[in-house]
Symmetry: D2
Subunit: 140 residues, 4 copies
């Protein structure tokens, strides 16, 4: 039984743009995080995010493919899916410009670490949540 599709929408901030007039490419990685945090909040496990838990999921890998620039005045709609991969979890993202045009896709891979940044067992609340999540076949 799949969770409902998750989307997160927010306006582009002016300080996210650069001298080409578009959102700087580093800020898409930040929008991925905004979506992950909103997803954790919706799933009721926001307390597992750093720095509120002794065990957190750290980012060990990130990728981003840029297709269409976003500008100030646009809204970014982030679709996101999660998938457990053993002790790891992989998220994938698709950001749309104003709900219609695909602006970028990307992924992040996370591993559970403790306060000393050593790999450890993931937080049980999140493991439970991840059992209900999976990537769909068709994406984006």
């Amino acid at each position: 039984m799949a969770h409902k599709e998750f989307t997160y929408t927010r306006p582009i901030a002016y300080y996210e743009t650069d001298a080409m007039g578009v959102v700087h490419h580093s800020n898409f990685i930040r929008m991925f995080e905004d979506a992950r945090v909103a997803w954790l909040r919706e799933r009721g496990v926001a307390q597992t995010h750093a720095p509120y838990s002794d065990v957190v999921y750290a980012v060990v890998d990130a990728t981003c493919q840029y297709l269409k620039p976003l500008r100030f005045g646009d809204f970014a709609k982030v679709r996101m899916q999660a998938q457990g991969e053993g002790a790891k979890v992989r998220f994938r993202y698709a950001i749309y410009k104003n709900d219609s045009e695909l602006s970028c896709t990307g992924t992040t891979l996370h591993v559970a670490i403790d306060k000393n940044f050593r790999i450890t067992k993931p937080p049980t609340e999140l493991v439970s949540v991840l059992k209900e999540e999976h990537w769909t076949e068709i994406w984006p």
Copy 2:
């Protein structure tokens, strides 16, 4: 006996610009901090900066007057002076565009706080350093 004039120079990063083609106004506050950190390092008291000390100087007030925009390709030269004000310390800054034109001026006021964000006695190493510092009459 006054300390020698302190200056800190660094290139403008592309990600610091915005869609007007100039450095976003929030980033001048960050350049002030870059200069403060370089100043602490030069004075040999970088270990008093958060998060490395139990007692640190937190920012309680910041001001910035914007005179001339900075662009990607420019170098920012930050002049800075410090002055003890009782248990507080006030820094003032003047940022120049490529060593010549005044781009902005500003100030920050800091108070010593402990790990619980309570006001406390300032770090003794910094107090010693501040005894040698003062604002010049002519500025900028």
Copy 3:
């Protein structure tokens, strides 16, 4: 006849925090901007914001007083008021932590400039809007 009180609320992003575990002081300046942009949008004059207009209001002065830290997990509620000062406009801000405790206050002063960053006459749509705005006596 006064416009209704304007407030803008958004969650703190994780990337806005620093190694002290609190929102970095430069990011309050960015929250001021987020509130200004939301205010322009509500007033129906978002098109006067850079880079969409030939004449825009540039920031020439900013101040910020920090009272209480914000953390990841908090929501920032920004109250904001605008006031015309001749050809200039001054905004003032009060940011609350989770709707209750005052976290910071601040101001920004803006002047109208053209595409060449020369001072010019302000956009007429905004002048009309500003005629209806004023600072209240009691603040914050």
Copy 4:
């Protein structure tokens, strides 16, 4: 005839850290850019960077593998190599913590675009530079 190894070193800024006490993962993408810009400057072709040229190389893909956290007080040493791939150019990066421990690796892929964000022929100065560049077999 290979160009000499390129490295770029700068201190970690305090505002680049997050509430875990380490550099936020999005900022490694920004350090990649800092290194690219320094590389362009050293090669004498900084004027081909946006927004100074009608034809620029836009980022279309970025990857980052995070191995070891960086903290305030650390210096990031970025090693970088460039390689032409037809009309595209791919950079790869290895960031070291204080010159010794590998902190992260990554890549960016760039295509030439014109002022209207349409794919176009790359700037000739950069094409000349890229003829002298190549990835080494051993990396990092």
